[in-house]
């Protein structure tokens, strides 16, 4: 059964019990009201009977007309009071019937007593008979009125018993209701413990096991409810994660193998390829120096071309090794002052080509969280590019600065050089990609690839905005580091 269904069942039971208690209390209250009404009526009857007894005694003592009249009035009122039967129980009805009969007899005997001749006969036998007759009637009146009063009290007792019974029933119903509510609450608590808390405890244990690396842990809660479903999903998830992690592990191993191959390749490039290149350059130089005078101009030009090509290839190899190092270098993140780096590079460039007059606009205090040596390489490439591509500009300006955009710091290197067509911007950061011919602006075409890789290593990004003839601006953004 679903937990939600169990919950609804428990709630319904509790609500039904409360409803039952309310109905029983309402019913008992009606009973009490009805019984109270009957008790009031019974008290009226008892009061009437008491008054009847009083006037009967008064008549017996003084034989007064007033007592006779009062007896008749009370008898009449009493007869009206007991005429209708408000009771439903057979015993009460029986008592009331006895009361009616005895009341009628009492009044009849009282009338006989009034009608009895006075004991003033001269015959003593007659006097004795009359005296005995009156004594007998008086005794009967006394007995009947006592019985009537006792019965009136019995009727009152019935009403009281009914009230007591109703009150006791309410107590019993409340106790039973409380027991039922306690039972359903206990049942709910037990259900929650068994169906929710215990499985959640297992789930918690399972998450701890998985977090500690035990990917083979199986939760396996066999219930058919929501938590059972969640358990099955959890187990499916761990199976899926196990498979994914195995694949990642394999990929990592393959990656490590590839890295080793790259290392090996780099070694080969740096050592195996450099040797022949140096030989080509060296022997070409030796030919020029030793036999230059024996060679014609064309031969010497060819040798010069061989030397230039081999030197260029050497630089290409150096650039490739640089790219490789950038990829593999360990990062040491700390605050780096880009402004200082830019000033140092600009000074170096100015010294290298003192004939050029480039206007450097470098904003002070540009601080980023990064690896200083890699940022040195990135800024070197960006500023050398700007230097190079403003070589044909009349009044070259190179700017280094930072702006805030959407709360993030963006740094830039801008120049007013030749610029480029943004249609080719996607090729800009590819290795060996060039937007200008080498004869126009010399270079290997690997510098921006290195720059982009450096920013990727920092989880940052770089992008460019340019227009042909108006210059180019390279923006870069670095991931904000947490300050601890």
């Amino acid at each position: 059964m679903k937990i939600s269904t169990k919950g609804r069942l428990v709630t319904t039971t509790a609500l039904a019990t409360i409803g039952l208690i309310a109905a029983m209390i309402w019913w008992a209250n009606k009973e009490v009201e009805d019984a109270n009404s009957k008790r009031r009526q019974t008290n009226e009857i008892a009061r009437g009977l008491n008054e009847l007894r009083l006037v009967t005694f008064e008549y017996m003592l003084h034989r007064s007309e007033r007592a006779q009249q009062q007896e008749r009035e009370v008898s009449q009122r009493l007869a009206q009071l007991i005429e209708t039967n408000p009771f439903s129980g057979p015993t009460q009805s029986e008592v009331l019937a006895d009361l009616r009969e005895r009341s009628a007899t009492t009044h009849r005997i009282f009338e006989e007593l009034i009608a009895a001749p006075a004991a003033d006969s001269t015959n003593p036998v007659d006097n004795e008979l009359i005296r005995r007759f009156e004594a007998q009637l008086s005794s009967r009146l006394l007995i009947l009125q006592q019985e009537n009063l006792a019965d009136a009290f019995r009727l009152a007792d019935f009403s009281t018993e009914r009230i007591n019974a109703a009150q006791q029933r309410v107590v019993v119903v409340i106790l039973v209701g409380l027991a039922l509510i306690a039972l359903s609450t206990g049942g709910a608590a037990w259900l929650i413990d068994r169906s929710v808390l215990a499985p959640i405890g297992k789930l918690e244990q399972a998450t701890r096991e998985v977090a500690s690396g035990n990917w083979n842990y199986k939760l396996d809660i066999g219930s058919e409810d929501e938590i059972g479903e969640m358990s099955r999903n959890f187990d499916a998830m761990t199976v899926s994660l196990r498979t994914s992690f195995a694949q990642i592990e394999r990929s990592n191993q393959e990656l490590a193998a590839l890295n080793k191959e790259i290392e090996s390749f780099s070694y080969s490039v740096s050592h195996d390829l450099r040797g022949p290149l140096r030989s080509m350059d060296g022997f070409s130089l030796a030919l020029l120096e030793d036999y230059g005078d024996k060679l014609d101009d064309e031969a010497r030009d060819s040798l010069q071309r061989i030397r230039a090509a081999s030197q260029r290839m050497g630089r290409l190899i150096d650039e490739l090794l640089g790219l490789s190092r950038v990829t593999r270098a360990e990062l040491t993140i700390r605050p780096v002052n880009l402004s200082e780096i830019a000033h140092a590079i600009s000074d170096s460039l100015n010294q290298q080509q003192p004939t050029r007059h480039v206007q450097w606009v470098i904003e002070d205090g540009i601080i980023v969280q990064a690896d200083k040596s890699l940022m040195q390489i990135a800024m070197q490439n960006l500023l050398e590019n700007a230097w190079k591509f403003t070589s044909k500009t009349d009044q070259p300006v190179i700017r280094v600065g930072a702006i805030k955009r959407d709360g993030m710091q963006e740094c830039f290197v801008a120049d007013n050089g030749v610029g480029f067509d943004m249609a080719y911007a996607d090729r800009l950061f590819g290795a060996f990609q060039r937007l200008h011919h080498e004869s126009e602006f010399p270079g290997t075409g690997i510098g921006l690839a290195i720059v982009q890789r450096i920013f990727r290593r920092h989880e940052g990004k770089i992008w460019a905005q340019a227009q042909p003839g108006l210059g180019a601006t390279f923006f870069f953004q670095l991931k904000e580091q947490d300050h601890e």
């Binding site: 007759f133 007998q136 027991a179 609450t185 959640i200 405890g201």
Partner: protein, 343 residues
């Protein structure tokens, strides 16, 4: 965290369990009071002398239905013809208790017997009657003057006759009273040795059957209500309060049976008394079976005492106090509302 929650839930469950136990105990309390009443004590022996008349119906029912045994009483019943005979056995100490009308009880008390009434078992106003022979020119009560009337002396029959005469303003010595035991009453009537008989059921019905159309009866409902009671020696009643309480409980069960199943009760009583069902049925509905002790009984007992002295059963003197002769504790313990005696 999870284990803490588990612990709290278990504590809650235990607390709720405890609440339910308390509720169950509270619910059971009311039932237990009735459950254990009178069931564990050993059986008490009692011997009772009962008249073979419907007036002792409740006692016969209690015996036949096993109510005495249910209440832990081992009752031995001795059957006699009428209440006075049962009282005689009691006075001879042959039985522990007897069932009889109040009149023989009053006479015995006046004679010095220290008896007590444990409970009333039946009252009846219209059963006691004068059965007369029409052929003796008796049509109205005043025609009885000078006639011979059979009556069992010292019984409620004699007191009824006395009350009947007063009710009709007749001098008791205007007739001749013939002392006859109940068993000879019908024969005397049919043979004509008496003109009328003051008697009760089942003799009354038997007389009617015997006289057929020649029978006529007079009653005096307003003059006398016969009350039959269970009587014991006061010292016995005081010494065996537990037994008397059980007896009262058994009688109350019998009363409830007679009320709820009157036909079954009548059949059972007729069978017990070896009476023809029709004879037993006559007057059955007039019998008011109620186990109680009433204040009004004291008035009747005192009237009967005055009559007994007037009739010469004992020497004239002050009417004795009958209040100590009513044994109240049993009824007070079992159903106090049945006891209306002023204390």
């Amino acid at each position: 965290m999870a284990s803490e929650t588990h612990r709290r839930v278990r504590t809650l469950v235990i607390a709720l369990g405890a609440l339910m136990v308390v509720a169950a105990l509270a619910l059971g309390y009311g039932g237990r009071r009735g459950l254990f009443a009178g069931s564990a004590a050993p059986m008490e022996k009692l011997s009772i002398a009962l008249p073979t008349t419907p007036h002792a119906a409740l006692l016969f029912i209690a015996a036949a239905k096993g109510y005495f045994a249910q209440e832990g009483l081992d009752v031995t019943v001795t059957r006699v013809s009428h209440g006075k005979a049962a009282l005689d056995l009691l006075e001879e100490r042959k039985v522990d208790l007897a069932s009889a009308a109040e009149v023989p009880f009053v006479i015995s008390v006046l004679k010095g017997a220290r008896l007590g009434i444990a409970a009333t078992v039946v009252s009846v106003s219209t059963e006691m009657a004068l059965v007369v022979r029409r052929d003796r020119a008796i049509a109205v009560p005043h025609d009885l003057a000078g006639k011979r009337i059979g009556v069992t002396f010292g019984t409620s029959g004699e007191y009824f006759l006395w009350a009947f005469f007063i009710r009709h303003k007749l001098a008791p010595d205007s007739v001749t009273m013939v002392d006859l035991p109940p068993g000879q009453m019908v024969k005397a009537l049919t043979q004509g040795t008496i003109d009328a008989a003051a008697t009760w059921e089942p003799v009354k019905s038997e007389a009617f059957v015997a006289l057929a159309d020649n029978a006529l009866s007079f009653i005096a409902a307003d003059a006398y209500t016969v009350t039959h009671v269970v009587i014991g020696h006061s010292e016995f009643l005081n010494a065996r309060p537990e037994a008397i309480e059980r007896l009262v409980r058994a009688l109350l069960k019998a009363e409830e049976f007679a009320r709820s199943e009157p036909k079954h009760a009548l059949t059972l009583v007729a069978d017990q008394l070896k009476l023809d069902l029709k004879v037993a049925q006559a007057g059955w509905k007039d019998l008011d079976f109620k186990v109680n002790l009433r204040q009004s009984q004291l008035v009747t007992l005192e009237d009967e005492a005055r009559w007994a002295m007037a009739r010469g059963y004992v020497a004239k003197g002050p009417v004795p106090n009958f209040l100590p002769r009513l044994y109240l504790p049993a009824l007070l313990a079992v159903q106090p509302e049945r006891m209306t005696v002023v204390r």
